[in-house]
Symmetry: C2
Subunit: 365 residues, 2 copies
């Protein structure tokens, strides 16, 4: 007899949402030439953010401010809302876990897309929720169908990622606004806007609407994935509830300082968005050069349709990996006919351009 | 009608375990002269750790390794165990939350001390556990009574902090080893060793014992509280279970780099421990100069018995705060006859020495 897990954790699978590139590098016994699999932003953070983190390093003996006061003040100006509409957490991953914990009791239904973000599914399963999956439509998460399915199934929560991961597409503001308008009064929409800064336009949503939590991050456009800092925008009564369960001193103090500086460097953000747009063009051109189609993207990655089924895409991915190119692919059919390539430096995309034809040949094209 | 919280979160109080000094500073409208309330380590991290974090800042666009491979390799050598015995997380606070989530279902009993660590209680309540509290004995957590009470009440988990927060005392290894020997086979002991590096000696516990999780942190002796990084040592089957619920990419990459460098700088750690010992002596001397008794401490703080009840201690604390000295006090009787003062720089302790007589006078001594 040994201490046993509580029934819910005991019932959970051992599966992990993502295997990190460092593990893959150890398995292959060599570093990757191109790190294009995790939608990281190789153009990097603002130099002002780097400098702020370096300055903050000497002060790391202090716990960070558990209220994230200064960052929330800056974010409220940035987002056009009040500090009471904001909660800062350890990236969107951390905030998703807390939101699920707050809303979902064992057996509650939660609606997401078939092939939506695996870490969200991990949290829902982890708190005993029952996932209801809606198919993608034209390679995009189907906003209207997600909301309709949530209403039909009496779900507590519905998840929508816009712009979309892993396919890269986006919905114009009116589509999201219509989905919000159609939301029943008692269902919480998690609108994952991790890639918001790359989108041509964003929906208008009243930050006081208790039915919506928008989530944003410093991991993507701001180039600070390793810092683990993101935020959610929502109604004050929803935001306050996070205080009941969050790890109050959980946000790294260097991340707080870096995020504050990054938010102020709008010129760097603009340059990043432009460089990402160029890199998307380049990835699309590489796809075309190999007779493949790149899907339209409003993110810092591009899904490339490999023109076969999931086994073929998986073989291409493996052959890329063998050549030192780290990429990933969508998780369910029909999206998993594609591979997903993050925007990176010219050198990394050169390596990808060189490796792709060989990978396609090796995969039996 | 609006989205409602799940029943368990809906039942939770709005109370927050600790108010941070930044909030208190905003309330008083001025910064503190001495930051001696949160058991932070003002002697600071190893310069090697600071340099490692500064180097890592430019690479912050990458997610940290979710397996914490390199740090776990170094920690396994440091702790004399295998990497399979280790889980790294966002400080002990984060690991406590995960451990409670893994073990405690609503209604399960968990034993801790009356006046033990509030953040642990926050997590137990947060997952619906029922706290059973054992009184302190001679100003220390009563190891034998805690284990006995856990056995009597059919608890799932028992918490013991050694060296002790908030009183500063410690148990020699044989007391902890006897408590472990008396543990029933199906009860998990959380041994919070946040202050381990300050202890004269630590117990021997088989890392493969499934009944014990030892928790350590880089927040105290290593001076990296803002980095949010700690670890737990336990049996592989218990450690593996964390993968079912943890935020896999949750540890900050700068924290990973800093912790690795800090672990290697044993000379800095020795200097810190010596400086902390000096500061403890100084705090005890200041207490004596004011006719008060300092309790023995094996930590980086000292509890000072103010010689009255909790109202008197609270008045002393308030009067210290009004003079710009941030300190805290224990949370329940009889420990809350004391104030708790963290070890700090000479300048900060000078400020405390100057302020204490006035605070005692103001409190009506």
């Amino acid at each position: 007899m040994t201490p046993t897990l509580a029934p819910l954790p005991a019932s959970l699978p051992d599966a992990v949402p993502f295997v990190g590139p460092e593990t893959l590098e150890r398995q292959r016994g060599a570093p990757f030439r191109a790190r294009l699999g995790a939608n990281e932003n190789g153009f990097g953070p603002s130099p002002l953010a780097v400098e702020a983190m370096r300055q903050a390093a000497a002060e790391v003996w202090k716990y960070g401010d558990p209220t994230n006061h200064d960052l929330k003040a800056a974010l409220s100006a940035h987002c056009g809302c009040e500090p009471e509409n904001l909660v800062v957490g350890e990236g969107i991953d951390g905030l998703l876990g807390l939101a699920v914990r707050l809303m979902v009791a064992p057996g509650d239904r939660v609606v997401t897309s078939a092939g939506g973000y695996p870490t969200f599914d991990f949290h829902v399963t982890g708190f005993g929720g029952e996932l209801v999956r809606v198919p993608y439509r034209d390679d995009r998460q189907d906003a209207a169908a997600l909301v309709a399915r949530a209403a039909e199934t009496g779900a507590r929560m519905v998840y929508l990622c816009n712009p979309d991961n892993p396919m890269g597409g986006w919905h114009p503001p009116e589509v999201i606004e219509a989905a919000v308008a159609a939301l029943p009064a008692d269902i919480l929409l998690i609108l994952d806007e991790a890639y918001a800064e790359f989108a041509p336009a964003l929906p208008r949503i009243d930050p006081a609407d208790p039915r919506v939590l928008r989530m944003r991050t410093f991991s993507k456009a701001y180039g600070m994935a390793g810092a683990r800092i993101g935020y959610a925008i929502g109604a004050p009564q929803v935001i306050r509830a996070f205080d009941r369960v969050r790890n109050h001193f959980g946000v790294n103090s260097l991340a707080q300082a870096g995020a504050l500086a990054a938010l102020g460097d709008t010129a760097h953000l603009s340059r990043t968005v432009a460089r990402v747009a160029e890199a998307r063009e380049r990835i699309a051109a590489i796809a075309r050069d190999n007779g493949l189609a790149a899907l339209p993207s409003a993110t810092n990655f591009v899904a490339i349709d490999c023109g076969g089924d999931d086994s073929f895409a998986r073989a291409v991915l493996a052959a890329l990996g063998a050549q030192g190119i780290f990429a990933r692919m969508p998780w369910v059919a029909p999206q998993n006919r594609c591979i997903r390539v993050s925007c990176g430096s010219r050198a990394e995309l050169d390596a990808f351009a060189e490796a792709l034809p060989k990978a396609l040949a090796a995969a039996g094209n």
